[in-house]
Assembly symmetry: C2
Homo-oligomer: 562 residues x 2
């Protein structure tokens, strides 16, 4: 029958999609939707990995009471042809053993950070492979990785990604004598891109902000012109190490609990509860099981879905401590202020670090800073969004930080907003840093933070703390401004009314006007004639703008016909 | 050596992440970040699939000159317990043959729409499996699928997703006698959720908007209270069928070309070029190869990367026609107006369908409509974002449509904006529909459209076409308003000035004030006393608001100490 064959025809069209194929077609999900953004994303992914590697290495060495180095990172961009660039990022991290280089760089969804609960820059095992994927997609060129483990020979690997298999196809793999560092990794990716030397979304701006929130890192940037910019260290100490934590019952999901019960190596459900969750003592665990009528000695994998549901309910009702926060590493109020002062020398600065909070069982912490005046440009406020010490430059519209900023009633704190915009108009920098063991990004490009209400609340509270201090500072400026406005209204009105009155009375217009002006000059101690010139100037401007707009509208109308 | 062991320790921590595991942890990427949104997303994914299936089925039958039915969809939501709901979506589509049900519903990245270039609602092969994943994650319950192919017995399948394997684990699979339809599919998912009966992000609103842009579909909605709402058909005809197209050389990427060359079954690079791309004639193909110095008879898989780069360059320089647009199916200006009229009976309505355009080689088309007044509430404008006939309710901030709306200078068209917001303040509906063979969404949740400049440009042009018509309509209203404002200024300062003048002159205050009022009443023909009452009322309100805000600030300050 025809119907039958239709259902079968449709069935035949179904097939699996490889994750690499999926992201190749959806590369904008990974931050590769424009040539400018693609270059930034590639640098960002490489630098994130380098900083993570350097910090982990230094921390391990410190634990072992050995000498360690602070992060020392080189970013170099060579122009190969008109729109083709080679991006080179090199670090003094531990290096990567040759065996795993292919997966680390040429397999999407492969990494060391996904399954652990610990603050880090990378977390998905996608970024660097995605950058290599984009490089080969746009230039057909293989990526090159050179890596050296201390005391071992360096290795060079050249590879591409086999899209259908989501795995490496290796074109070169051998020892390499010319690597200059004792240990570390160098990545070279050739890609199609557009380079911007400056601007809010430039690589320079990204590295600048990175150094602001990573004052312990030295970053050297060599741009396509060969110019060398060094972002020096502001502090000489390694940030406090972050500890990995176990999942906390708050926000634990039933499906996850069920899977943990199946996968655990513990013999009893009691030891499972006490050993595999944070802040879960034996007494609490026992009462949870008793309330759920589950025997303490039950084998975890024998627990039914209904019993798991009960256990979860009581786990979440149980009166537990918040998750530990030694898994978090904020930049710190002092360090942020120091960085911003050195960079912008503002008239006013206020910073704050909120106490940690929890979303879906994940600890997180918000820091904010407001800097006003000084070298900060007179345009609308510059918002610096930071997540786990990584600056976010794109997709601000979707970001919890932007929402937090926009939902803050800046007018109330004396900061004006240009009509038609939601960001404050002032020579101001608004810096918000959120750190967490698991930052919920709105997409794999990790450009914006998902809008969890508790996160937005923390952001707003942090901003309000700073804004209240700013309000005091701005109070005077505002008062003066209001006064000026009142004057101009009177001046303006005075003329009109003088005319009206002289029309009605026999009195001479000039006389009345002088009278009025005396009132005003007495009241506000200003010179009326100057005021009038001012006002005329302003009104002339408005008229001109009006005209210009009408012209633009007409132009558009024509434009469309084309 | 310690260093060595550190690099090895770090290496040992690396492992693969299953795509199901990835999305379980990143469920917000799929639209499951809140309980309200999760329910909507689940309904949306199921309804999208149903509409696609019904339309494909009807189109195939029509091709075969057989009777066909228009989409007839049932959406039912049962409340199982306080925050647990069962979502049921049933259609009169072709049904799914039992063999592929497990992958279709329990394997992420599996589907029929990813590899084709044709306008459709689904495109990723993620949505429905993700909904089932969320259901089991929050309730531990299996999903149920009942499907019947015409002339065959119905089948019932109950399954869950094996997270590590990203594949189905089936708990029930047998014939099923009780399915009421001749053909179609029924999906039942039990999940944790929060139900909202109304509001911009409610399931009701989603179904309403769906019916507005799918006037050929009948949708019956049975809500948790058992209330039955029917969205009737506005038209009785099937939309024009969309054709699948081949990739167009514009926006073709080198990596894709290289892969196509490796995978093609064609024997010569010439036949490859002519047969596997749209709008590519033999003459053009030949000149492209000649310009790239590649022999027409070369085996496609023998072409080198450098040669491919050349070929691509010349393909994109070649003077080709735009991609065919019979792959697109806009709603149509008439149909949109009709739907909006029936729903809101507005004072004014304007709609437009732009000519198709192209981004990254994908054809797309923008439609827009403005409806003003009537039953549209007096709040800020309601923006209806639609992609391939699917309403988008979330992540508006990140969406190209929102940007297009915000970048439109509404003031210029006589529509005011509330200060501090970018959306126009008016009893207005702004509907924008973008259809494409591949809609670039900002995340897998398909809630927002990526910000490709050419797409934003088309959106703005469409809105401007409608806005210019609106401007004319609004002109009168605005004029009246401005007049009123001028009056109040005069009235307000009349009193102040009268006092000032009487202080300086011997004249009696009352006398002067009357004089002034006469001026005003003559000039504007209004009653000054009424005007004054008006003004006092407004100013009182402002004062009260001031006070309230100060209180709120203080409260906040306390709130933080807690």
């Amino acid at each position: 029958m025809a119907e039958k064959s239709i259902a079968d025809e449709l069935a035949d069209k179904h097939k699996s999609i490889s994750i690499a194929e999926f992201f190749e077609k959806n590369r904008h999900l990974l931050g590769f939707d424009s040539k400018i953004k693609a270059m930034l994303t590639c640098v960002k992914e490489a630098v994130d990995n380098s900083l993570d590697a350097c910090e982990e290495y230094a921390t391990e060495l410190r634990k072992k009471k050995k000498d360690f180095e602070l992060p020392d990172i080189l970013v170099r961009i060579d122009q190969e042809s008109e729109e083709v660039y080679k991006i080179i990022v090199e670090d003094n991290g531990p290096g990567i053993i040759p065996k795993i280089i292919p997966q680390v760089f040429a397999k999407l969804l492969y990494g060391s950070k996904f399954h652990r609960l610990k603050q880090g820059r990378g977390q998905q095992g996608i970024g660097i492979s995605a950058s290599i994927l984009y490089g080969q997609l746009t230039t057909g060129k293989a990526a090159r990785i050179i890596s050296k483990v201390d005391g071992k020979p360096a290795h060079i690997v050249e590879l591409m990604i086999d899209i259908k298999k989501n795995d490496a196809s290796i074109t070169r793999d051998e020892e390499y004598a010319k690597f200059s560092r004792e240990h570390g990794t160098r990545v070279e990716i050739i890609l199609e891109g557009t380079y911007r030397a400056s601007g809010d979304k430039s690589i320079y701006e990204y590295l600048l902000r990175t150094s602001i929130v990573n004052p312990h890192a030295k970053i050297v940037f060599i741009d396509p012109k060969g110019e060398r910019i060094t972002f020096k260290r502001a502090v000489e100490s390694l940030p406090q190490a972050t500890k990995e934590i176990k999942p906390h019952p708050w926000g634990l999901e039933l499906g996850v609990l069920i899977r943990m019960l199946k996968e655990t190596k513990k013999n009893t459900v009691l030891s499972f509860l006490t050993d595999e969750f944070s802040k879960m003592g034996a007494t609490t665990a026992k009462s949870i099981l008793d309330n759920s009528k589950v025997n303490h000695k039950r084998k975890p994998d024998s627990v039914t879905v209904e019993e798991s549901t009960d256990i979860l309910k009581h786990m979440q009702k149980a009166d537990l401590q918040r998750p530990p926060t030694d898994c978090l590493s904020p930049v710190g109020r002092g360090a942020i202020e120091k960085s911003l002062r050195t960079e912008y020398n503002p008239e006013f600065i206020a910073a704050t670090t909120r106490p940690p909070n929890v979303y879906r069982g994940y600890p997180f912490q918000v820091e904010a800073a407001l800097a006003y005046g000084g070298n900060i440009p007179e345009t609308s406020a510059k918002i610096m969004r930071i997540a786990n010490k990584v600056p976010l430059l794109y997709e601000s519209g979707a970001c919890a930080i932007t929402i937090g900023v926009n939902e803050t009633d800046w007018k109330r704190y004396g900061v004006p907003k240009a009509s038609g915009t939601t960001t404050p108009q002032a020579p101001m920098i608004i810096l918000v840093h959120i750190c967490s063991v698991w930052v919920p990004f709105t997409s794999e490009s990790k450009a914006a933070i998902a809008n969890y209400p508790v996160i937005i609340k923390e952001i707003k509270l942090a901003l309000q703390e700073c804004a209240r201090q700013l309000k005091v500072f701005l109070h005077k400026k505002m008062k003066a401004k209001r006064e000026a406005q009142r004057v101009s209204t009177f001046v303006k009105y005075g003329t009109v009314m003088a005319k009206a009155l002289s029309d009605l009375t026999s009195k001479d217009k000039k006389e009345i006007e002088d009278l009025i002006n005396t009132v005003i000059e007495k009241k506000f101690s200003v010179n009326v004639d100057e005021q009038k010139k001012e006002i005329e100037k302003r009104e002339k401007q408005l008229e001109e703008e009006e005209e210009k707009e009408t012209k633009t509208i007409l132009k558009e109308a024509e434009g469309e016909e084309k």
